[in-house]
C-alpha cells in the first residue's frame, strides 16, 4: 500500500484520514508476523552458530593446549593448579569429586535417574509400589512403603540439573585453563587467589550481590516451574498421590482432555472461563486506567484546594489489607447486606432477576460480573491515581500554555498532550497490570467465595464446581485445594496455558508500544 507524505495526509478529511490509518494498520499486520517469524528464525540460527562455536573452541583448546590443559579435560582444575591458581583449582576439584560421589553412591544420582522412566507413556514414576503385607509379629497387615513418585521425580530432576551444572563447570574450567595458558605465553601473570577474593567486592561484585537472590529464585521459582511442567505430563492427583499409588506418564492425553469440546472433555468449561478471564482483564485494566487518570487530573486541576487531603483519602484504601475491605464489601452487596437490602426494598433490581428468585446482584451471572468490575475500580483507582499524578507533574507546562494560546480546547489538550504522554510512559505498566488482572486472585476469590453462584451447565470441570466469575487462576486454585480429587496435572496444564496466553500477548504488545524499546533512554 502506498504511504502518503505528511502534506497529502493533512489534506484528507477526517473520515478518509481515519480510513487511511485503518488500512495502514491492517496492511502492516502480515509484515509484522513476517518480522516475528524472521526474528525467531534468526534466534535459532544464532543458537546453532553458538553451539558450533563452542565445539570448535573446545576442539582447538584440546589440540593446541599443552599437557596440563589436556589433562584438565579429565581432572577438574588441573590447569588451575599448574598455573598457580590454587583456590580455583581446589574449588573445581571438590566440585568434581562431589559430583562423581553423588552420582555413583548407592541411591545416588544414577539410582534416581533410572527410576523416573522419563516420558515413557504408561510407565510409572518410581518402580516399587508400596503395599500392605501380612506381618508375623503384629499379626496384621502393615504398610510396606515403596517409592514416592513425587520424590523420585524431584530427585531425578535435581540430578539432571546437577549434570547440566557439571557440564557447564567442565566447560568453564577448560576455558579458564586455556586463558591461563595464553596469558602465561604472553609473559603476564595470571590472577592469584588473592585477586579472586578481592574481586568479590569489586569486578565481580554483581555475582556477589546476585548469588543469594538468584539462588532463591532458582529454588522457589525455576525448579518448581520445571517440575510443574513435568507434572502436566503425568497423572498426579489425589488418587495417584505418588505415595500410596504411584503416578505415571501420560504424554499429551490430559492436554487433549482439556481441549476436547465433546462430552466428558473440559473444552467448553475451559473456553468459557478463558473468555471471561480475558474479558475481565481487559475491562479491569482499562476502566481503572482511564478513571484513575481522570481522578488524578481532577485532583491536579488548577484551583482545587487541599489536594493532599483528597489523595490521602484514596491512599488509605491501599493501606487497609484487601481481605478486610473486600470481604466486607462483598457482604454489603449480599441479599442481607446494607446495599443489597436497599436494592430490594427500593425495587431497584430488574424484574427478570426477581422472577428468577435472584435476590442479590451476586446471584445473577451478568450482574455479578459487572459488579466485580465496578468494585475493582474501587480497589484499583488509588494506585493509578498516584502513578498518574507523578506523570502529570512531569508534563512540561509550557506545552499547555502554548496550546492554549493556539486556541486548543480542554478536550484537545487532553487527547493531544496528556493522553499520548501518559500512554508513552505507562505503556509497560498497562501490560503488567493486564497480566496481573489475568491472575487477580484476591479480588475475584475474596469477593465471590462466600457468594458462590455455581455454573451448573459446566458440571464439575476438573473435579470442582466453578462459578460464573471464576478466572483460570481461581479455577486451578480450587482444583488443587478445595477439591477431593486434587487434579494437580490439570492445574499444571492450565498454568502452562495461562503462560502461553500471557507470553503471546506480551510479545505482541512489546512490539507495538514505543516506550519499551530502549531502557537507556530514561537516563
Amino acid at each position: 500500500m502506498k504511504r502518503l507524505n505528511d502534506l497529502d495526509y493533512l489534506k484528507l478529511n477526517k473520515a478518509s484520514a481515519f480510513l487511511y490509518k485503518l488500512k495502514l494498520f491492517f496492511c502492516s499486520v502480515p509484515s509484522y508476523f513476517k518480522k516475528l517469524g524472521l526474528a525467531i528464525l534468526t534466534l535459532f540460527k544464532n543458537c546453532g552458530l553458538a553451539v558450533k562455536d563452542e565445539f570448535v573452541d573446545i576442539i582447538t583448546t584440546f589440540t593446541k593446549g599443552n599437557w596440563a590443559v589436556k589433562l584438565s579435560f579429565l581432572i577438574f582444575g588441573f590447569g588451575n593448579f599448574y598455573y598457580g591458581q590454587i583456590l580455583r583449582g581446589i574449588l573445581f576439584l571438590v566440585f568434581e569429586a562431589v559430583f562423581f560421589a553423588y552420582m555413583f553412591v548407592p541411591s545416588g544420582g544414577l539410582y534416581w535417574l533410572s527410576k523416573v522412566n522419563w516420558f515413557q507413556k504408561g510407565a510409572t514414576v518410581g518402580t516399587v509400589q508400596g503395599k500392605f503385607e501380612y506381618d508375623m509379629i503384629y499379626d496384621t497387615d502393615i504398610w510396606v512403603p515403596g517409592d514416592d513418585s513425587v520424590k523420585v521425580l524431584l530427585y531425578g530432576l535435581l540430578t539432571v540439573i546437577f549434570i547440566v551444572a557439571f557440564v557447564c563447570t567442565w566447560r568453564m574450567q577448560v576455558r579458564q585453563c586455556r586463558i591461563c595458558m595464553n596469558i602465561t605465553a604472553k609473559g603476564k601473570k595470571v590472577k592469584s587467589g588473592k585477586d579472586d577474593l578481592r574481586s568479590v567486592l569489586d569486578d565481580q561484585f554483581h555475582k556477589t550481590l546476585l548469588a543469594i537472590p538468584l539462588g532463591g529464585i532458582f529454588a522457589f521459582t525455576v525448579l518448581p516451574i520445571i517440575y510443574m511442567v513435568l507434572i502436566a505430563f503425568t497423572s498426579y492427583d489425589a488418587a495417584h498421590d505418588g505415595f500410596s499409588n504411584l503416578f505415571s506418564w501420560m504424554g499429551f492425553d490430559h492436554f487433549n482432555e482439556l481441549l476436547d469440546f465433546g462430552e466428558g472433555g473440559l473444552g467448553v468449561a475451559f473456553g468459557e472461563i478463558l473468555s471471561w478471564t480475558l474479558m475481565w482483564a481487559f475491562f479491569a485494566t482499562f476502566t481503572n486506567y482511564f478513571l484513575g487518570m481522570f481522578v488524578a487530573i481532577m485532583i491536579n486541576k488548577k484551583g482545587i484546594k487541599i489536594k493532599k487531603f483528597w489523595r490521602t483519602i484514596l491512599v488509605m484504601t491501599i493501606a487497609i489489607p484487601q481481605f478486610v475491605s473486600l470481604l466486607y464489601v462483598a457482604k454489603l452487596f449480599g441479599s442481607s447486606g446494607l446495599i443489597g437490602k436497599a436494592l430490594i426494598d427500593w425495587n431497584w433490581l430488574p424484574d427478570s432477576m426477581l422472577a428468577a428468585n435472584q435476590l442479590s446482584l451476586w446471584q445473577n451471572p451478568i450482574a455479578s460480573k459487572i459488579l466485580l468490575i465496578v468494585l475493582n475500580i474501587w480497589v484499583g483507582i488509588p494506585y493509578i491515581m498516584l502513578m498518574a499524578t507523578g506523570i502529570l507533574m512531569n508534563i512540561p507546562q509550557d506545552l499547555y500554555e502554548s496550546s492554549r494560546i493556539d486556541g486548543a480546547s480542554v478536550w484537545q489538550q487532553y487527547s493531544k498532550i496528556t493522553l499520548p504522554y501518559m500512554m508513552f510512559v505507562m505503556g509497560p505498566y498497562l501490560l503488567t497490570s493486564f497480566v496481573g488482572n489475568l491472575n487477580n486472585f484476591n479480588v475475584i476469590y475474596l469477593l465471590t467465595q462466600n457468594n458462590q453462584l455455581i455454573n451448573t451447565e459446566l458440571g464439575t470441570p476438573g473435579g470442582v464446581s466453578v462459578t460464573y466469575t471464576d478466572l483460570l487462576i481461581t479455577w486451578l486454585y480450587k482444583m488443587t485445594l478445595n477439591s477431593t480429587d486434587s487434579k494437580y496435572y490439570m492445574a499444571s496444564i492450565i498454568g502452562i496455558l495461562v503462560f502461553v496466553v500471557v507470553a503471546v500477548l506480551s510479545l505482541v504488545v512489546y512490539n507495538v508500544i514505543p516506550s519499551t524499546r530502549n531502557e537507556e533512554d530514561y537516563k
Partner: protein, 294 residues
Amino acid sequence: MNNKENKTIQKRGLGAKASRRLGNTVVYVLLILMTVIWMFPFFGIVLESFRVETTGQVSYMWPKQFGLDNYTRLFKETDFLIWFRNTGIMGVATAVFQTFFILSMSYVLSRLRFKGRKALMNLMLILGMFPGFLTMILIYKVFADLGLTMNMAPVGLIIVYCASSGMGYYVSKGFFDTIPKSLDEAARVDGATRFQVFYKVIMPLSKPIVIYTILMGFMAPWGDFMLASYLIHENSAGMSVAVGMFEWLSKTNVNTHYTMFCAAGVIVAIPVTLVFLMLQKYYVEGVTGGAVKG
C-alpha cells in the same frame, strides 16, 4: 479591527473565568462524592464492630446499641491474638529479607553492566508469566516433609515470600536508574571498589526506595490469602489473620462471627494504616518514581 479583537479576548477571558469556576465546582462535587464512596466501607466496618444487638449481618447501618462486646469476645474466645502475632512476625521478617533481596537485585541490574544482564532480565520476565501459585504444589510437598507447614507455616511462608522476591525488582530498578551515572564514575576514579560505591555512595541516596521496599514487604503477609491458605490448611495455631478471618464469613459462621470480623478488621487495619500513613511520602515517591518505568 484591533479594538474588536481586544474585546473578544476580554469576553473570552471573562467567560473562561466563569467556566473555570463552574468546572471547579463540578470537580469539588465529584471529589466529595468520591470521598464518601471510598470512605463508606471503612465507616461501616468501624460502626459494625461496635454493634452489640446482634452478631450477624443487619441491613441498617447505625448500631442500636454501642459496646465493646465484639472486641472482648475477639480476645477471649478466638485465636485472633495468635494470628495477629504470626502475621506481625511474618511482616517484620519479610520486610527485612525481602528488602535485602530486592535491593541487591535491582541495584545490580540497574547500575552494573555485565555479560548476560539482558538475558537475565528477559528470563525473569518470562518466569513472571507463569502463575506463581503453581509453584506451591511442589513447595508444599517439600515443606510438609521439612515440617514447615501447619503450625510452622509462618516460617515456611516467610521463606516463600522472600525467596523469589528478587523478581519484583522493577520499581526499585526504576529508582536506581534515575541516580546519575557520573556519581559512580567519580567514585570509581577516586579508587572506590564497586562495593564501596554501593555502600557509601548509592545507599545513602536511596532512602525513599529502601523505605518503600520495607513498607511493601511488611504489608505483604497482611494481604496475602492465596499462598497462606495453601500452607496453613486448617491449623489455627499457624494461621495468619487473612486465613483465620476468612472462615468467619463462610455461610455457616457468618451469623455468629460477622460483627467480630469487623472488630478484627479494625484492629488489623490500625497498625498497617498508621505505618502506611506515616511513610506515605515514600510510598508515593516509590510508585510515581519507579513503577512506570518497567
